[in-house]
């Protein structure tokens, strides 16, 4: 199948990252590439763990991302409920506006955003950074949740109502499970947006103790060139826990849904 061949495009760079991360510096720089690291070394990983600010930036990134996920999910859920379950004037306008604000190149928005945060005294604070990420994530989350709200057949709700289920129960036992995949997609997206950002954190945070992981990672790229061993080992460490975490979350939730019998 074509998709199988396509998979290689996704597999290879990952394999190559892991492979490179265990190579010694001279072996990384070989014109005839090594497909298995020999000699095998943990040197690059040691460099990562001993590089200054690794732990502080890891903690910063993690806590900011988690806060962003939590708050944006709740706020997006509330807003989406308003936009899909209520029929009021201006609903469409709000939806289009939410879409429109995303269309401005973020690089151009950087200076006005910076000025706004400066005037509000929010620079160099975790809360300010989190706020900026939540705002980036919200429009998207609202749109994607809306899609999932819409894909819930009305008949299910009607049937439940006929059976005498109350609103709270309908929300909990019908909407929530059916929206779960959407909520997961949204939370993964929110997490990765906060986890990934480079330029906003660079501009907003003055103290290096408040830096996030991407800024720390970029420090492997210096004036003299890029330390690919360190960079790649850092990226692996960076991506692995997130990946495993989401994998577990996703699997449990998918199982939960199918065993809940909603799928019929």
């Amino acid at each position: 199948m074509l998709a199988g061949a396509l998979c290689l495009i996704w597999v290879f760079p990952i394999y190559w990252m892991v492979n490179t991360s265990f190579k010694t510096a001279p072996n990384i720089l070989r014109t005839t590439p090594q497909f298995f690291p020999s000699p095998f070394t943990f040197e690059n990983y040691v460099n990562v763990f001993t590089k200054p600010n690794f732990l502080s930036s890891l903690i910063n990134s993690l806590s900011i991302s988690i806060v962003v996920v939590g708050i944006s999910i709740v706020f997006a859920f509330l807003a989406t409920t308003a936009l899909t379950k209520f029929n009021f004037k201006g609903r469409h306008l709000i939806l289009i506006l939410i879409l429109a604000v995303q269309m401005i190149p973020s690089t151009a928005l950087l200076i006005p955003l910076f000025l706004t945060f400066r005037d509000a005294g929010l620079l160099n604070s975790y809360a300010g950074l989190a706020l900026a990420y939540i705002a980036t994530v919200l429009p998207f989350s609202i749109w994607i949740l809306r899609g999932f709200f819409h894909s819930i057949p009305v008949e299910i709700e009607e049937a439940a109502r006929m059976d005498g289920a109350g609103t709270a129960r309908i929300l909990r036992s019908i909407y929530f499970p059916l929206l779960l995949p959407g909520l997961i997609a949204t939370s993964v997206f929110a997490f990765i947006t906060a986890w990934n950002d480079y330029i906003t954190a660079l501009v907003f945070m003055a103290d290096s103790s408040k830096y996030t992981l991407p800024i720390w990672l970029v420090s492997f790229s210096t004036e003299d060139g890029v330390d690919y061993g360190g960079l790649i080992a850092g990226s692996v460490i960076f991506a692995l826990p997130v990946t495993i975490f989401f994998l577990i979350v996703q699997r449990n939730l998918v199982q939960g849904i199918s065993s809940g019998g909603v799928k019929g």
């Binding site: 510096a25 720089l29 005294g121 929010l122 609103t167 660079l202 501009v203 103290d207 790229s221 330390d227």
Partner: protein
Amino acid sequence: MKKKDLTTASAIALATVMLISGCGGSAGPVDGNDSGDQELSVWLMEGEIPEATVTSITDQFKEQTGTTVKVELQQWDGINTKLITALATNDPPDVMQIGNTNVPLFAATGGLVDITQYKDDFYESDSWLAGLAGPAVFDEKLFAVPLAGNSRAVMYDKGMWADAGIDAPPTSFEELERALDLIKSQNSEPDFSPMYLAGVNWYVALSFLYDAGGSLAKQVDGKWVGQLSTPESLKGLGQFVEFQNKYSSVASRTVPSGGPDSAVVFASGRASSIIDSSGSLGTVLRTNPELEGQVGSFAMPSQNNPGELMPAFMGGSDMGMAKNSTNKELGLEFLKFISSESVQAEIVAATGASPGSEAQLQALLPTIDEFAQPFWDAAKNSISVPPTPGWATLESDGSPADFFSQLTRGQKSIESLAKTFDDHINEALNASY
């Protein structure tokens, strides 16, 4: 869910928003007031002055003035964006290290404090190196003081050169070419470079340009005019391309900026020599510890003026004070302190960089090791880029690297590339800011 529940949920949500913005709101100003007491916030660049030296310097300053210096190390990547925004806040770092070629950008636009009236208070300010002090002067006013300079010279693998029968560093361009030819004849691997010069390494290319009497741009009636199409410049560019194509691997022509560090290429044995600043010896020895004691150095001999050295690009940094600093008196004290004789000597000893003034450079020259001397020799004849904010535009958009890389690839003629780059220079250097 009842209406009440929804409303409560929203109220909690609202409170969270308020809390978040409230927290931030109070956090900012408090931080700002802190620096009103005896604390000075200083930005230094990462990977320049070793940590121990930084601590020693700040300890001394504290002893002298009772002021605690809070140092933040910054990365070179994205530093201009970072400085631009930091300087626009009401709570900027008081004193900051700025790459010499970027100083005009901040000096000309009012980001830095004019310190002209204190110039005589700085140590040996009359003999500051042109490559460092030149960019700090705008409109005849002084905005920053030199921190340290890094000139470029040749680093070579003594063992490899000895194997080819060369035991002493060349003293003329012809001797250099002979040596490189000899090494080339003994190493036939296609990716081996007798002297590795990446096409994007515009700092090195400038040496050839200026050696032939050419230049990047000059000021005519208050307007900057690109000079790459002058006969002298074209000659220099031609000499660079010929030298690069002959002694550096084919791959080095196309390697992108930010590609492999030339020091790593050298340390991995893929090149017998490179042109770099003395600081990269550290990278070489980290990558390949076996080269300890095996790396020699010499200043690049001139191709067009026998007996002289090629002009060398002067990298390095200045220290400036933010216009919005709330601590200008202390900041000024710190500027005087870091450019003082003893602190400069300490920085030089720790980094191998050259000091900010020629007087001190001459005084210290006999004391430094054999390896560092050629870099200091090169510093005496240094190139600095046009001292105007527009130059930062060119560095930011990567056009110098693109230009020299295209030259070495030879797909377009030198004349047409020079013409295009001249146009770009004219536009960038004369833009308003």
